[in-house]
């Protein structure tokens, strides 16, 4: 089943987002509400913060797949600027780094990045990371997270939980 809803590109919309998730949450895979809310909320806030067209709406989609719950949050940001020396597929670079914790971004193709977390056995507190704290939070919960960006259409973050 696919659940889809659009929201204004404002932080204050997080309250409406929470209400919607409370309604549709029980209809998707057995995910505790607060964890579902946390992941979608972080992706939504990220989309608002980096939006270039605040008049456009942000679309949130939830879909049950066989093995996971797919969460998609669109945005109108400029996407990621890939490092000049890392323009080939399967190149990986640290998007954010604090001591031993790294958010790694891998170029899957010219329009897709895949994120992963590299941290020691005793994880570093997320609070110490100044940037990309939201992405790190999602990665601690998600099975997989990818970002799709295109100049000709919309960008979206896809989370598999």
């Amino acid at each position: 089943m696919l659940h889809i809803h659009s929201f204004a590109c404002k932080l204050s919309e997080t309250n409406r987002l929470a209400e919607w998730l409370r309604i549709v949450g029980p209809q998707v895979k057995e995910v505790p509400y607060h964890k579902l809310r946390f992941m979608v909320h972080e992706a939504f806030v990220n989309a608002v913060k980096f939006s270039e067209f605040p008049d456009h709406e942000i679309v949130v989609m939830l879909r049950n797949l066989d093995e996971s719950l797919e969460i998609i949050v669109t945005d109108t940001g400029r996407g990621f600027k890939l490092p000049e020396l890392k323009d080939e597929t399967h190149q990986t670079w640290p998007l954010a780094k604090h001591d031993e914790v790294q958010i790694l971004a891998e170029i899957k193709n010219t329009n897709t990045l895949s994120f992963s977390l590299n941290e020691p056995n005793t994880p570093v507190q997320v609070g110490l990371l100044e940037h990309h704290r939201g992405l790190l939070s999602i990665l601690r919960l998600a099975k997989q997270m990818t970002y799709h960006f295109s100049k000709s259409s919309f960008n979206y973050l896809r989370i598999d939980f």
């Binding site: 932080l11 204050s12 997080t14 309250n15 929470a18 505790p32 509400y33 607060h34 964890k35 809310r37 946390f38 909320h41 972080e42 806030v45 608002v48 913060k49 994880p123 570093v124 507190q125 997320v126 609070g127 110490l128 704290r133 939201g134 790190l136 939070s137 601690r140 919960l141």
Partner: protein, 115 residues
């Protein structure tokens, strides 16, 4: 601008609580942080933050709590959290924050931890 916080001063410690606030998130967290910094300017006591009524905290909200913790530590004082909901506790686990915040069931236990 509406205030979200209330600070009560006692002999040995202060208690910070939230007024009519259910979510400590990106929507309000930076305003709350600024408010608290203002309230704590002239206060030199151990601090208890009561999260009674707070249902949800996001990464920005946790970031604000960490800023307050740093502020208190810079004054060579201690900070304790209390009345934390199970859901927020789980999110704190997820964020690996349990090792930097001391969490107690209620204000009395939090106050006792300072002795």
């Amino acid at each position: 601008m509406a205030t979200h916080t209330k600070l009560q001063l006692f002999d040995d410690y202060a208690i910070l609580s939230f007024k009519e606030l259910q979510n400590l998130d990106a929507n309000v967290a930076l305003r709350v942080k600024a408010e608290v910094k203002g309230l704590l300017d002239d206060v030199n006591k151990d601090l208890i933050i009561s999260l009674n009524g707070i249902e949800f905290i996001d990464s920005t909200g946790f970031g604000s709590l960490i800023s307050i913790l740093k502020l208190i530590k810079n004054k060579d004082k201690k900070l304790a959290l209390c009345m934390v909901s199970n859901e927020v506790k789980e999110l704190m686990d997820l964020m690996q924050l349990n090792s930097i915040f001391k969490v107690y069931a209620d204000v009395n236990l939090a106050a006792a931890s300072f002795k």
